[in-house]
Amino acid sequence: MLAYDPSTNPLNNNEWSFPLLEIIHIASFAISIGTIFIVDLRLLGIGMRRQSSAQLLKDTAPWTLVALAVVLMSGPMIFSSDPNMYLHNPGFRFKMDVLLVAIVYNYTVHRRVAQSNPTPVLGALVGGVSLALWVSVVFGGLFIAFT
């Protein structure tokens, strides 16, 4: 931050670049979180019951990963438009904390349990936590504009 002047950032010098980046960020988070939700619904036992959670995970994981990669590229670019504002924003800080937990959880507990075709109780617990984490990430992101 020392010698960084956001006014030199192309994002702040082109009318369309910032909204376009946001659209990419939103579309890719919808895909990554949407595909995680598909596995969560199965773990909760309330959707996609003709497939096993292991099968659904295998089917959706590449799309989750690709979309998450786009999210994690567009996000820092958005951040770069005004780092000081984001760093002091409670919504942003909350979002980053939950996001870190959500990503680690997704690629450890969530993946392992989904692959093991768990008992209904364990599945519901793991799917429920996943759902809560990702919903919190979205809420944190939106509240950046309001906190």
Binding site: P19, E22, I23, I26, A27, F29, A30, I31, I33, G34, T35, F37, I38, L41, G47, M48, R49, R50, Q51, Q55, L56, K58, D59, T60, P62, W63, W134, V135, V138, F139, G141, L142, F143, A145, F146
Partner: protein, 166 residues
Amino acid sequence: MSLLQLFQWLQQTEFATALRESALVYPTVMATHLTGMALFGGMIFITDLRILGIAMRGTSVSDVVTQFRPWKRFGLVLVATCGIMLAWSKAEYYYHNPFFWAKLTLLMLVGVHAMVFRNSVYNNTAELDRAPVMPTNAKVAACLSLALWIGILSMGRLIGYYEVTI
């Protein structure tokens, strides 16, 4: 009463004013709109890519479409309810916003898309699974659906960038 007067009246209702001025409820409705998009939009995206033979190839088109259906409906109700609340609360502003009308136009085209392709594609998935190659009209339906929803998402985001002074 003209359309503008209707939108002005909508924005001035007690409900709209309370919603617009609430520091907690307004962003919560917006965040729910976005969360619903992950459920609804994510499933639309995967359905279309499945029809195109790109995603979820381990699951039949029938299993994808029929098992997503109740959740897509739930997601649509969630997204639409929140969307209507957001538009209602700022109806007069939205009336002057071209991106709002562009979004509504695209949403009407989604209705046309559904009428055109429902019988031959989305209610005909067993046939699609039996076909040796995916029929062209199903692929066209999937591509149009992707284009329409990306357009709707884009117009929705751009609504927030158009400044209206009343």
